[in-house]
Symmetry: C2
Subunit: 320 residues, 2 copies
């Protein structure tokens, strides 16, 4: 690869927002994901005089995340990026501002990593395309979750709905976003580590259940292309993973019943949970759903965070 | 249901063609299928004075198919249709002209059944929509194969590419047909009964393989909507069923290698086999592929039938 000739842009400092994401989208385990406008994380990146990547500050993480540049997913993926493009001569310092909960199943590590990669790539005049950034963000996921998946990072980078058709070779397809689709998210603040949530899932499944699942995946993808929200709703069923993962989520089936009765198009687990989400046809219904479910969780003495958002179409953006 | 008031149309006789179909489309086991312009079957239906359904003639079947109205899939599904619409007072006689091989994996029974149902429905002024005919045709499949599947009959009735998102309840989605897509079909004349081909398939599969499969199903569906023939080609891989079914097909992997070297977009088993098919970007490539594969099979002392066709967009049609 040629060494980049272009100088670093602007004042040598940039602030980037990257969105939270909902992976799996109920039926599309490990292959589908979409981005939301809120929540998300922010990264401030400054050019330093000295080669190497440092993290000077992390806010909003309650001290949970490592400041060591090799161990933090943001700095590690930026290091990986700079090495790949032969620019280890560059030095940057990172401030990470967590604006969303960790361990929520909303792609928290992905939002941070993608914000960092988008920042460095913007400072280097968009040397790589958004699609080319995906493998670097997957490296960050590997560090965070022990598994380099793409169903959070790809929608966080590209925005919208994303299909990861294949991992070897990596083949990512951006899917259309239906008009007027809103997302209601509730994060019940209970602990569901991604690693444990994955290990609970059976390694073998019945072929007949797998057929039901890929019929639904095909239906959901068709619904996105056809702008058919009814079809999207009736396709969003998961016979394979949800029955196991829902065990870790307080009152999952009750929350689903509530959401569907209030007019949700669909309801399910975001990523490995414990966050849950519903699609709706308007913002008000999404707001009502989050409010009522939060009240229900409060009655169970479970704290929760709620978010209402359209599907994010843009991916990361420069905010300063 | 109201009793049909409309009189039987025209001269009380009709001749219908219904197309052969390729089920599964490699990655979409039990959920995807498409129709071709050739081959297909023909049914001549005549109104008789006497209530009931009879079959007076079957040609092209080498005596394999039953003339008994209860046992033949064409007459049985027409009986079922007439009973459903409360018109058992009507009498029809059927001539079935098999214009395609039986046991080929090209939806032979489906083509016959669909021709019969389309004929009676046309005589009754299209009382049911094409979509409403699907369950009646599935009854015919149950009689023919012991399993009421829809991945042949739905595309035979509707034309084009069809997704069976769900069986319970039945939910069928018509998918777009990419421009310029041609299909090369070779039927090596060896015996692969549908029942046996299904029984060979393992009932349990690895979840990780199922994920690969539904990534590909989603990729194929996306490719159809995006008119992206490259994406269609790279999505048409089957890690679950083809490895087993290909055992019953002479020189399957050699035929695939030949087709891909000659410029095929994709290659796989049609339904439960033994027919194989390739997608191509033009008619000439499809013709060359069928010719060369037929020569190869002849060298192995295996007789074969070949067909070259665009994807059928229309479904059944009245031809007399």
């Amino acid at each position: 690869m040629d060494i980049i000739k272009s100088p670093i842009k602007g004042a040598g400092s940039i602030k980037v927002f990257a969105p939270a994401t909902v992976a799996n989208v109920v039926c599309g385990f490990d292959v589908l994901g979409f981005a939301v406008n809120a929540p998300g994380d922010e990264v401030v990146m400054r050019i330093t005089g000295k080669p190497g990547v440092t993290i000077s500050k992390i806010t909003g993480d309650n001290g949970k995340l490592p400041l060591s540049a090799d161990k933090n997913t943001v700095s590690a993926s930026v290091q990986h990026y700079l090495k790949h493009i032969n620019r280890t001569d560059i030095g940057v310092d990172i401030e990470l501002h967590k604006k969303m909960p960790i361990g929520s199943g909303l792609g928290s590590s992905s939002a941070s990593t993608v914000a960092g990669l988008f920042a460095i790539n913007s400072l280097l005049d968009n040397y790589l395309t958004p699609m080319e950034l995906v493998p670097f963000a997957m490296k960050g996921e590997e560090l965070a979750c022990g598994y380099g998946h793409a169903d959070n990072v790809a929608p966080a980078i590209l925005g919208g709905f994303v299909l990861i058709r294949s991992y070897e070779p990596l083949d990512i397809i951006k899917l259309p976003v239906p008009e007027g689709l809103y997302c209601a998210i509730v994060f019940p603040d209970v602990d569901v580590p991604t690693r444990d949530a994955r290990q609970m899932i059976r390694s073998k499944v019945l072929l007949k259940d797998a057929v039901v699942q890929w019929g639904n995946v095909a239906g959901l993808v068709s619904g996105l292309f056809m702008n058919d929200i009814d079809l999207i709703g009736r396709s969003m069923k998961d016979v394979l993973v949800e029955p196991t993962r829902s065990i870790l989520i307080p009152d999952f089936y009750k929350m689903r019943e509530m959401a569907m009765e209030m007019g949700a198009v669909s309801f399910g687990i975001s990523g490995s949970g414990p966050s849950v989400f519903a699609f709706t046809r308007d913002e008000q219904t999404a707001a009502t759903i989050t409010q009522k479910i939060q009240q229900h969780l409060t009655g169970l003495n479970i704290a929760s965070y709620t978010y209402v958002s359209a599907v994010n179409q843009q991916g990361p953006k420069i905010i300063g």
